[in-house]
């Protein structure tokens, strides 16, 4: 009796969170799944069941494939580089050097700035002719490039902004983890005469594994979620060269108002993220020492 009362109590306490989760996460997910098998309601016509047609359209849609491939490139480049960079930065500012606070602040600064503002600044960095990057190139005798207007460079250009934006954020997690490591490891390593590289490889890196998993999962999600700067910098152009899944999804949903097809795209994106997340979680979790 007392035990079941306790159970009720527990559920009552969980109730607010559960309700929010159901209303804002689970219900929309299920509704999206249902909508993805329906046609798009327009004006007087209401939605009707059309089976897998939205998915068949997707298979035939070259822009979808282009956005998917772009997104995979975006992920394949941003994830390892930003994680590696954040780790290097964290190791660097973890030392007690003069001016560490300045370095920490400057590394973290991009994270605080709103992405739209950042993108508007980067547009001018990339501007052909007088943009910062092209001026540097020209000083060293290279010719100016049209970074955002050339299909072979545009995706790379938006990837650089993404890395610049998120590395500092990940650095904070690594820094926090490094700071919490007991100094006795370092002392022991010093007594044993271990090199810094050995110390990092055998002691710091394994102990940072839980942080790495956390950062990796976030990096993967971000790779599919960071699109704000694409709106400002390239609009997915030129000719879809920098379009990624979420950007394309927005276009379908809120520019073309094609609710059915947008739902199908959402389902694919959600499914992909869920699979990646689970695999990551279970595969990497075993390697972590908590």
């Amino acid at each position: 009796m007392v035990k079941s009362l306790k159970q009720v109590n527990v559920y009552l306490l969980l109730l607010p969170a559960l309700v929010l989760l159901l209303v804002f996460t689970h219900y929309p997910a299920v509704a999206t799944l249902i909508d993805s098998f329906m046609s798009t309601p327009k004006g007087g016509r209401s939605a009707v069941f059309i089976g897998a047609e939205n998915y068949l359209v997707m298979i035939d849609d070259p822009v979808f494939w282009r956005s998917l491939i772009n997104n995979l490139w975006f992920a394949a480049v941003t994830i390892p580089i930003s994680v590696a960079l954040s780790l290097v930065m964290a190791l660097w500012v973890n030392n007690k050097l003069a001016g560490t606070w300045f370095l920490r602040t400057s590394f973290f600064l991009p994270t605080i700035l709103p992405m739209i503002a950042v993108a508007n600044i980067w547009i001018f960095f990339y501007t052909p002719g007088y943009g910062l990057i092209n001026q540097l190139l020209q000083t060293f005798g290279f010719s100016s490039r049209n970074w955002l207007g050339d299909p072979s460079l545009a995706l790379g250009a938006v990837i650089v902004v993404a890395i610049w934006k998120q590395s500092g954020f990940f650095m904070i997690f690594y820094l926090a983890a490094l700071q919490s490591l007991s100094p006795s490891y370092r002392e022991a390593a010093d007594i044993e005469g271990a090199s810094s590289w050995y110390f990092f490889r055998r002691i710091q890196w394994p102990l940072l594994m839980p942080t790495t998993i956390f950062v990796l999962i976030n990096a993967v999600i971000d790779a599919f979620r960071m699109v704000d700067h694409i709106f400002v910098m390239t609009h997915g152009g030129p000719d879809n060269a920098s379009s990624v899944l979420l950007y394309y999804l927005y276009e379908i949903g809120f520019k073309f108002w094609d609710q059915g097809y947008a739902s199908a795209l959402t389902v694919v994106l959600m499914g992909a993220l869920a699979v990646i997340g689970l695999v990551q979680f279970f595969a990497l979790d075993r390697k972590a020492h908590y």
Partner: protein, 430 residues
């Protein structure tokens, strides 16, 4: 006792008064009005002032302006609200979204409210070129409010420095090329320090392209909005010319040229001539450190430029009183004096010929003749490209233009691909 009575009277008086006030407030019809901002300047302040003035003159209505972001953000908000059954009474949206709004059954024709002769005269008072996008199947769905068109800006000092007459901008396609060649400056390393011309092609290249295609005597879409002519030889020829400015004549930066930085490129002297919206007039005027001119776009087989900008729409799922208020507000906003002041403050083209006859705009134009160029070009202006399923068809066109400009496809292949895609998208509207 006496004091008590006195205070009671005062109390009841104030009660009656406040009750009267609240009755009054209750009788007012709330008219919500969504507007976007697409150009620089204190737009929100101006619009808020308009609403306050209107409310003072029309005690029956209370117009509440809501700044809703960019055009794209505004239509997202309006259509989402419409689908939820609670749209605003009025709003400013792109004139090209008319088909979308009609297909979504979101707006009512303005004709519904035109009852008196004065109303009819008002509806006829606008520049005909600005009415085109709002008229579908013999009905007028939106009235022009903040409208623009594409014009050419040229740097007079750059012209002088290469021995060109600073007061003579290029009049036709050939002169553009000849002058552009002289204006393009290449340094010893082969770096271009100044380009001849720049026609931006990021984001919405179709709009600028309509300048070329109209000048080459082609109309991209029919008035019913269910058929496009992307593979017309004149359209392909127009695109070939645009591509050649970069690839054959080397007077325009290669690849896709950013819309947002183009005015800046011009003000920095990195390009001698640009095509951009009249909406940039005020911005360039206050920031350019050199003497510049504004001209009509050069002539091909004919002159031509698209119109652009936003129309005033009245939404369907609102009460008759709200719609009436919205209609009144639309009329009020577009009165000649107000349209003239709006044009001076923002750089938008005033929407009616009468506005250009007002003392305010006449004085402004005498001071700054560039303000008149856009009006004169309206004679040659065409409707902005718009079809059913508008943004999707437009994307097909945009992708094709960018593919050609970046050299991924030949102009002919690009436009034929876009034609096939657009025809497929529009088949259900035929």
């Amino acid at each position: 006792m006496k004091r008590l009575i006195k205070s009671l009277t005062a109390l009841s008086a104030s009660l009656v008064l406040s009750a009267g006030l609240s009755v009054n407030a209750f009788a007012k019809t709330e008219v919500s009005f969504y507007f976007p901002i697409a150009v620089g300047g204190p737009i929100t302040k101006i619009i808020d002032q308009y609403a306050a003035d209107f409310n003072k003159e029309n005690p029956d209505f209370n117009v509440t302006p809501v700044y809703a972001g960019t055009y794209q953000e505004t239509i997202v908000k309006v259509l989402t609200a419409h689908k939820a059954g609670k749209p605003p009474a009025a709003g400013i949206l792109l004139s090209t979204d008319t088909f979308t709004l009609v297909d979504e059954d979101a707006i009512v024709p303005v004709d519904n409210f035109v009852k008196t002769d004065a109303d009819r005269a008002w509806l006829k008072s606008f520049f005909p070129a600005f009415m085109l996008n709002g008229q579908i199947s013999d009905k007028t769905w939106g009235v022009p409010f903040q409208r623009s068109t594409v014009v050419l800006f040229w740097n007079k000092e750059a012209f002088k420095s290469v021995g060109l007459d600073p007061d003579k901008p290029p009049q036709n396609w050939q002169e553009t090329v000849d002058m552009g060649r002289r204006l393009t400056k290449v340094d010893g390393n082969g770096n271009v320090s100044r380009w001849g011309i720049q026609v931006p092609s990021s984001g919405f290249p179709y709009w600028l392209f309509q300048g070329f295609s109209t000048q080459n005597d082609a109309i991209l879409a029919n008035q019913q909005g269910n058929q496009v002519k992307f593979d017309d030889p004149n359209v392909i020829g127009a695109l070939q010319y645009w591509v050649d400015l970069s690839r054959a004549y080397n007077i325009q930066p290669p690849g896709v040229v950013e819309w947002g930085t183009t005015p800046r490129d011009f003000m920095e002297g990195k390009v001698a001539m640009i095509w951009t919206t009249t909406g940039n007039l005020t911005n360039i005027r206050s920031n350019a450190k050199f003497d510049f001119g504004v001209a009509m776009l050069p002539e091909g087989k004919r002159r031509g430029s698209p119109t652009g900008g936003g129309n005033f729409f009245i939404f369907k799922k609102t009460s008759a009183a709200e719609q009436e208020g919205a209609f009144k507000f639309a009329k009020w906003l577009t009165q000649p004096e107000r349209a003239a002041q709006w044009s001076i403050d923002t750089g938008y083209v005033a929407v009616s010929p009468a506005a250009y006859d007002t003392p305010a705009l006449k004085k402004y134009a005498a001071d700054f003749p560039a303000a008149i160029v856009a009006r004169d070009q309206l004679l040659f202006a065409v409707a902005e490209f718009s079809t059913h399923d508008n943004q999707r068809v437009t994307k097909a066109l945009n992708d094709a233009l960018q593919a050609a400009l970046t050299g991924a496809k030949s102009p002919e292949t690009a436009m034929k691909d876009a034609q096939a895609e657009a025809t497929r998208l529009l088949r259900s509207y035929r």
